[in-house]
Symmetry: C2
Subunit: 510 residues, 2 copies
């Protein structure tokens, strides 16, 4: 065992392989960009193939290779299941999959794991059934959980080498020019897929909307695509927007949102040209609405909003309250449409969004980020990947990335959820180190990280109720009682990479 | 000496180093993508430097390194001269330069060569004074002439490794997001520069128009940029458009244009969804105008036009006669403005435009290309790089790329220019092999390449006067007399790379 900088024990074999977390910027060294094998496409070559089967044959996919997918279709994705079903049918085994994330819809994966078709997984997250099955220990090798920026870093540095990327495309021409704003299953930005396309040896575009050449705008260009396959349907438009929430009416969430918005508007960052990222969830959307009112009232315009984009962000652009939307992913249909129609709504890839090893990600320019949490501990460490029962059910997302890079990172969370405390002594799993978390906003008040003495000074005269993180924990435990320790097994079922590639925590089987 | 497939003698040392031309697709093998060293930019790092001097210091530029520039400012470029002046002042020697092309405005280069500051050059072209000086033999090592697609190939495969790219940016923010459609010296597309930015170890953006973050649209993203330097002026807008010509009134050029347009409209390619590239020059612009009239008359709409874009192309888009403009370079101000304003006017990089080693360049989808020539010989070989006196004064450009890839390549040229024959027994220098050239259009009629039996059939009933290439040569020599052979020296002053990287010809000193 090796103990890392946030006090977590990392089994020696993984510590040796990945290194252990030693601080936000301790492992951002110069590196050689990953390379790939390229098969040139000649003037009279044709890229279109009749089926996913033919694409698997043509790419020469075989046992032991790594394939990737993007998660822009979220709960509406058909692509990963279709491709894995064909791979399983063809008898190919021991495949490593590197999707940008895994959703509930991917539950068939459980069988492919049990059959030995899939033997390695890296992902941002694992939901319900798949997460529970992994936590039970069905996969011999631990899943590697990577943040969105960390995944980009891993691909760009060659920590992950993708042999074949199977990329669902809302629209494509026959030569592989792809975008996500036209077609039947429009998902908007293809920010995660763009990285795969650039670094995978081979790229198979799978589309249900073949359009005349040349398809523009171009998110993934023909120069990165080997084959194009047309199928009946790549995704369910309903599922793409699933989970995108409306404005909350929950009084606790509204109070949290009000405090969060007041922290922003009361900060030195709130001025013309400021920037922010909020994300989804009822409280986050409410923050955006409160912020909008304050921007109108104070005649303040933001330079950009970032991230996972929602309708609420698109409205800010339409209303002239932000100059630009910088978009790596869309959470609903209106934001996908906005990307297609508004030149100030701009698509970027995950490397530009959040990689710690690029020549500067957009999050480095971000003022304020609103982030969620399953748990926050008294060291401000945040868990967004496991439940209080230790079972994998969340996603790393851009949490550790934006927290580390932005000027004021704010975690919004209720003190308790039902009978489960959110503010705890020690989080079940650390995804984001406390040193990156500046403010925790709850319905009982806000706790500023004592390391941010500048923020403490900034909010000295603030009328927002201020508390210590210990006080929040005490309140939580008063309601729920002290949580009983989780009984883990001996198997490591997940490695939690910090964005730089070192291990910040591991998850054991339960 | 090694004799290549088009019969040219290549000195053994260069034949060994580069290989010799063996056919259009003989050397398009799988390859490993070039890589580069990356220095990550951390959240609170600042990229802006006070001067070009500081940028040279910060990049650690030293003797023997390779630097690159783009030629989008054409005769208006200030950047290459400014950077080389500072490098010379600092006493750095033995620099290899890899600009996408070299213009008359770069005459100061002659002194830097003589001083030993610059000792290797690769470029698409060499004009007047620099070309003449190189032809005199002032540079010990031969200049490597590469086509636009060949340069992209060389960078992408690592045949050229750029240590530092100095990229003039019409607009940039302080983090290095660059486009060519805003600012003082708007050049439009930055298609050549985009390749350098992607593969150079370090990128210095030099701008005279610093704009608020985030600058969009983004031709070169912040993730590829190390430093940003603001200077008073990067280029002369007048010079950018210099040489862009108006509609010709020369009867000979008009006749050539009329024949060329009739060849297109009389071909099987002329139907809804066809595509073409014309370029600049009085006759080429006239072809575009005649074609426009035919498109209106026949109610035909093109899917895309490609290439170096002019006002005439932008007008076709505005008039609804083409669906898309695919743009690697703009030749005048109106086309640069069109790129900034019209979402169907789309910017691409040189790799996507024309590289023979990408997964499919746009030229592979092109129906018809109109190309110029300094000389064409009876084997249909084309010279666009040396004058009839053997002196370097032209540019390879996209000539060999588009000729090889499109469905019908048409070279338009008068039979004679003054007292110099254009149609000759053997071209002075081969840039494009005759196997790529389908039709030669002159004022005395058109000659179809006998290899294209399908085209000969297609135009059997055509009323356009048809001649053999030998007849054209005979007519030319009747007017000018047979040209006297050029007296070359023993020094190889230029290597003419075919687009695949092999040598198709060499140029000796005169």
């Amino acid at each position: 065992m090796v103990v890392n900088k946030v006090g977590r024990e990392i089994p020696k074999q993984y510590a040796d392989q990945y290194g252990v977390y030693a601080g936000e910027e301790a492992n951002l060294a110069d590196y050689q960009l990953a390379t790939k094998q390229v098969h040139p496409v000649k003037p009279r070559d044709n890229k279109q193939l009749a089926s996913i089967h033919d694409a698997i044959v043509q790419t020469g996919l075989k046992d032991g290779m790594t394939i990737s997918f993007h998660h822009h279709f979220r709960e509406g994705d058909y692509v990963m299941n279709m491709v894995l079903a064909e791979i399983a049918r063809m008898g190919i085994k021991n495949i490593s999959i590197a999707p940008s994330s895994i959703a509930n819809v991917h539950a068939p994966l459980i069988d492919y794991i049990k059959q030995g078709v899939v033997t390695n997984i890296t992902s941002s997250g694992l939901r319900d059934k798949v997460g529970a099955a992994i936590s039970e220990g069905i996969l011999a090798n631990p899943v590697v959980i990577r943040s969105h920026g960390g995944r980009a870093r891993a691909i760009v540095r060659g920590d992950i080498h993708i042999d074949v990327a199977f990329l669902g495309a809302p629209s494509s021409d026959e030569y592989g020019n792809v975008n996500g704003t036209k077609g039947k299953a429009t998902c908007g930005s293809l920010g995660y897929a763009m990285v795969d396309a650039q670094y995978a040896d081979q790229v198979v575009v799978i589309t249900d909307s073949l359009v005349p050449y040349p398809n523009t705008p171009i998110s993934i260009p023909q120069t990165l695509v080997d084959y194009v396959v047309v199928v009946d349907a790549i995704g369910d438009p309903e599922g793409i927007a699933k989970g995108a929430t409306r404005f909350t009416k929950n009084p606790k969430e509204l109070l949290i949102a009000e405090y969060a918005a007041k922290m922003i508007t009361g900060s030195a960052y709130f001025k013309n040209g400021f920037s922010f990222q909020t994300g989804t969830g009822g409280a986050a959307l409410a923050v955006t609405r409160f912020l909008k009112e304050a921007m109108i009232e104070n005649n303040i315009k933001a330079s950009f909003v970032l991230g996972g984009i929602t309708n609420a962000m698109a409205d800010l652009l339409t209303d002239g309250l932000v100059e630009k939307i910088i978009d790596v992913q869309d959470f609903d249909h209106p934001s996908a449409i906005s990307l297609g129609n508004n030149p100030d709504h701009y698509e970027i890839d995950a490397n530009m969004y959040a990689s710690p090893l690029s020549k500067g990600a957009v999050i480095n320019q971000l003022d304020v980020a609103i982030l969620s949490a399953l748990e926050v501990d008294t060291d401000f460490n945040v868990n967004v990947i496991t439940g209080s029962d230790g079972v994998l059910r969340g996603a790393s997302g851009g949490h550790s990335d934006t927290s580390a890079a932005c000027k004021m990172s704010m975690v919004i969370a209720p003190v308790v959820r039902g009978r489960i405390p959110t503010i705890v002594d020690q989080v079940t799993t650390i995804v984001t180190p406390g040193s990156s978390v500046d403010v925790v906003v709850t319905e009982l008040g806000v706790a500023i990280n004592p390391q941010r003495t500048d923020l403490i000074d900034m909010f000295k005269a603030s009328r927002i109720p201020q508390v210590t993180i210990e006080e929040l924990k005490t309140k939580a435990y008063q309601i729920t009682g002290e949580p009983a320790p989780i009984q883990y097994g001996d198997q490591t079922v997940a490695l939690i990479e910090y964005r730089d590639g070192t291990l910040i925590d591991v998850v054991k089987n339960v």
